[in-house]
């Protein structure tokens, strides 16, 4: 029974309606994305060892320093930009293999801020802008056009501490969990599954009699569960499929990612991989999903590998849904997602550039403005006139 608290602020200090704000600030969004990307980075560190941690930290630190430098040069506030800088650095690190030298990461970070953020204003995903530019600058380290190269992954028992660069070839590869004979090395050298799929689609895997898909699945690709846990060669954050799904579900739960976006990216990629033809024995075979060899649904397995082999999950859950570089409305995001899924599979099957998912996300980012204009909502009570917008 007191009114001592009743000294309400004077009119000049009160704000106009609305008096209560939603509470989700852009720092919250960045923090949630940092947490999700951090989960994947943690998983990558376990799989690829201290080299991966070094790459991720280097990416974050150099990005934050560049961001601070830009903020100082343009006389803007530094504080709120650092979190976003760290997020871009972390995402950039996730797209790089753990074996890249430190200067590649640093150059990529500087480029992603200067080109992605300052020049393009974040309309193209900054982390991916940096990634594709260093892919050209350091083609030797990042396999610009995916020559038949092998990449390392830590051997069983060497997680978290192994040296990723001390790799060794294994004869008679039975999958990561079945490498019984110790190879005496910390890492295994294997072909990237994505690269194997591309080689297969371009008639690069020798047929075994009538069997076309079986040699690919049996001899070339790692077992499918390896691609789920991420113990296949690739970028730090490209391969841990299960952890990427967990991170994506967290973002969806927080409301910063629409479930439709990753779902449609994956669904359209699956449909594209099911339909688009592969070159086998000199002829193009449409609808690879329907292939059956020796009573096994090998076509279905081929499509599943496309989804989990790497890059696509990272792109769908962490890179495509960037709040600035994705369409505003759900309808627009569906178009955007279909574009990413189909382009990724198309470039993977018939293209030469590696990092096809990143390229397709950037291509679709460039179309976001068009998609948004196309998907504009009519203003209530203005009919078609309301569609023109300001």
């Amino acid at each position: 029974m007191t009114d001592e608290g009743w000294s309400i602020p004077q009119q000049s200090l009160t704000r106009a309606s609305p008096h209560r704000l939603g509470g989700s600030t852009h720092q919250d969004i960045v923090r949630a994305w940092l947490f999700a990307a951090g989960l994947v980075g943690l998983c990558g560190t376990v799989l690829y060892g201290p080299a991966a941690l070094k790459t991720l930290l280097l990416g974050m630190v150099s990005e934050v320093v560049t961001e601070a430098g830009v903020a100082l040069a343009t006389r803007r506030q530094i504080g709120e930009r650092l979190g976003r800088g760290a997020l871009i650095g972390l995402l950039l690190g996730l797209t790089l293999p753990a074996t890249v030298p430190g200067y590649v990461t640093v150059v990529g970070s500087v480029i992603s801020i200067l080109v992605g953020r300052v020049v393009f204003g974040g309309f193209l995903n900054p982390a991916l802008t940096g990634r594709v530019i260093v892919q050209f600058l350091f083609a030797g380290h990042l396999s610009l056009s995916g020559a038949l190269a092998v990449s390392p992954v830590l051997a069983l028992g060497h997680q978290l501490v192994g040296d990723i660069t001390r790799g060794g070839m294994v004869q008679d590869y039975q999958g990561w969990f079945d490498t019984r004979a110790p190879i005496g090395k910390a890492a295994l050298l294997l072909e990237r599954p994505v690269q194997a799929l591309r080689r297969f689609a371009q008639d690069g895997v020798a047929a075994d009699g009538d069997l076309h898909y079986t040699p690919l699945l049996r001899d070339v690709l790692p077992p499918w569960q390896d691609t789920l846990f991420g113990v296949v060669p690739g970028g730090i954050g490209e391969t841990p499929t299960l952890m990427l799904i967990v991170a994506g579900l967290y973002l969806i739960y927080r409301g910063y990612l629409r479930w439709q976006l990753p779902a449609v990216v994956l669904a359209s990629a699956a449909v594209a991989a099911s339909i688009l033809p592969v070159q086998l024995g000199g002829t193009y075979h449409w609808f690879p999903v329907l292939a059956v060899e020796q009573g096994h649904a090998v076509g279905l397995a081929y499509v599943l590998y496309h989804l989990t082999a790497g890059q696509l999950m990272l792109g769908a859950f962490l890179l495509a849904g960037d709040v600035t570089a994705s369409p505003i409305r759900v309808h627009g995001q569906l178009v955007f997602a279909v574009g990413i899924g189909v382009l990724t599979i198309f470039m993977r099957l018939y293209g030469v550039l590696s990092g096809e998912c990143y390229w397709s996300i950037l291509i679709m980012n460039a179309l976001v403005g068009t998609i948004d204009r196309w998907m504009k909502r009519p203003v209530l009570g203005m009919g078609d006139v309301g569609l023109k917008g300001i």
Partner: protein
């Protein structure tokens, strides 16, 4: 499928909007409580500055509860009545949240609360006169109810919508009214529908409160009244969106719902009409939701008009110092900027918060949340650009007029840009109508 639709509820009738955290559980369970008058009142002598009234009492005169303090000048104004019996000790001015300082009568209650006798012979007078005599007002549009009815009849409306949606957080006065007196609301809606001559009368009720919906449907059996259960996404309570959801008609920017043949009455007006028509009582009390995290005993209170807000706050108890005081809902209400503010008849809520939201805007990150949630499909950041312009085209004026001042864009903006405030200010500068929420014109 029937089970699924029973769980999920009806589809939202408009694009955009947002299901806000309701904060209603504290107040929704407590019955409405009438606060006895325990101190001097400062009763404003008119409900709106431009509705002329003349004082009919003298200093020192004793008045009964329900006795006239002022009479109306002209057709549009309504008289004001004394909330309790007592002595007029002075004629002064009182600060109201809606209209600033208004002339008031200082009333010293004698504690006996003697009322003027009820009279049930009003049928020989006209319905409209009874509403005008008893001072029934319609909070949105901010007009006396009889004026709204006259305008609606002149516009030839065909649909009556009674708005009990109350989708703003914290507000529960309408919900409690539906729980406690559904029959009176239905009866009065029938009377109003007869007076308006409409072919269809709808009571819009939030679907979330299914028990209330069922009770209302039971009351409305055989009464030519439709109970429409709508999802309570904010701002479904806005008349323009009710017309869109229930009648599939779109009100042109800057227009009124009457242009589309509909009249939307807030439940507060129906409540006042019920009191005037069924009890022959004048509108002397306001039904206020008093809530917020600084309030100790949050609830719905029937408070005499003219009670200082300060005393009301003392009655409900404060648990922490007040940093933000709002008269009305948290998204559309008016900030209380004067410690001497008094309760007015059209007030709906007093919200007292221990924290004030003082946003620190940064640059737009183009997340598109405001565009996605805007109930009328505007692009608030683009409209905000008009602020720095010296003139705007007709099309741009239409966009500004299409804004319904729901405040969602500012509410959701992660960079805390003052979108809604800037759009409102720009619209006023370019000669558009003032804010919807304190709108003088329907």
């Amino acid at each position: 499928m029937a089970i699924l639709s029973n769980i999920l509820g009806p589809r939202k009738g408009f694009d955009g909007g947002l299901f806000l955290p309701s904060h209603k559980s504290r107040t929704a369970r407590r019955p409405i409580e009438t606060l006895p008058v325990d101190g001097p009142l400062r009763v404003p002598l008119t409900v709106r500055r431009d509705l002329g009234t003349a004082v009919v009492v003298e200093v020192g005169q004793r008045v009964l509860a329900g006795e006239r303090l002022s009479r109306s000048i002209g057709q549009e104004a309504v008289p004001v009545h004394a909330p309790t019996s007592g002595r007029i000790v002075g004629l002064d001015r009182a600060w109201t949240p809606q209209d600033g300082y208004l002339p008031c009568a200082a009333l010293e209650p004698d504690g006996r609360d003697e009322a003027v006798p009820q009279r049930f012979g009003w049928e020989d007078e006209s319905f409209i006169v009874q509403l005008a005599e008893k001072g029934v007002i319609c909070p949105r549009p901010w007009q006396p109810l009889h004026v709204v009815i006259k305008q609606a009849v002149a516009a030839g409306v065909t649909d009556l919508i009674v708005n009990a949606m109350e989708t703003e957080p914290y507000l529960t006065a309408d919900l409690r009214t539906l729980i406690e007196e559904p029959g009176r609301i239905i009866d009065t809606t029938c009377e109003l529908a007869d007076a308006l001559g409409v072919s269809r009368a709808v009571v819009a009720v939030p679907y979330r409160h299914r028990a209330v919906v069922k009770r209302m449907q039971a009351e409305a059996v055989g009464r030519h009244i439709e109970i429409a259960a709508l999802p309570d996404a904010y701002p479904q309570c806005h008349p323009v969106l009710l017309v869109k959801s229930l009648l599939e008609r779109e009100v042109a920017p800057g227009g009124s719902v009457m242009d589309e043949g509909a009249v939307v009455l807030p439940l507060g007006a129906v409540r006042g009409a019920a009191r005037a028509l069924l009890d022959d009582r004048a509108v002397t009390h306001a039904l206020l939701t008093v809530a917020g995290d600084a309030v100790e005993r949050a609830g719905i209170y029937r408070v005499a008009v003219g009670t200082p807000m300060r005393r009301l706050a003392r009655r409900v108890g404060l648990v922490s110092p007040v940093s933000a005081a709002v008269c009305g809902g948290p998204l559309t209400g008016l900030a209380l900027g004067n410690e001497e503010a008094v309760v007015t008849a059209e007030a709906t809520a007093l919200l007292l918060f221990s924290t004030a939201h003082r946003p620190v805007p940064s640059s737009c990150i183009r997340c598109g949340w405001c565009i996605e949630d805007c109930p009328v499909g505007l692009d608030p950041p683009a409209l905000m650009q008009l602020e720095s312009r010296s003139q705007c085209s007709t099309a741009e004026r239409h966009y500004l007029d299409a804004c319904i001042d729901c405040g969602l864009c500012s509410h959701v903006c992660p960079t805390q840009l003052p979108l809604a405030e800037t759009i409102r200010r720009t619209r006023l500068r370019f000669g558009g109508r003032p804010s919807c929420n304190s709108d003088a014109e329907p």
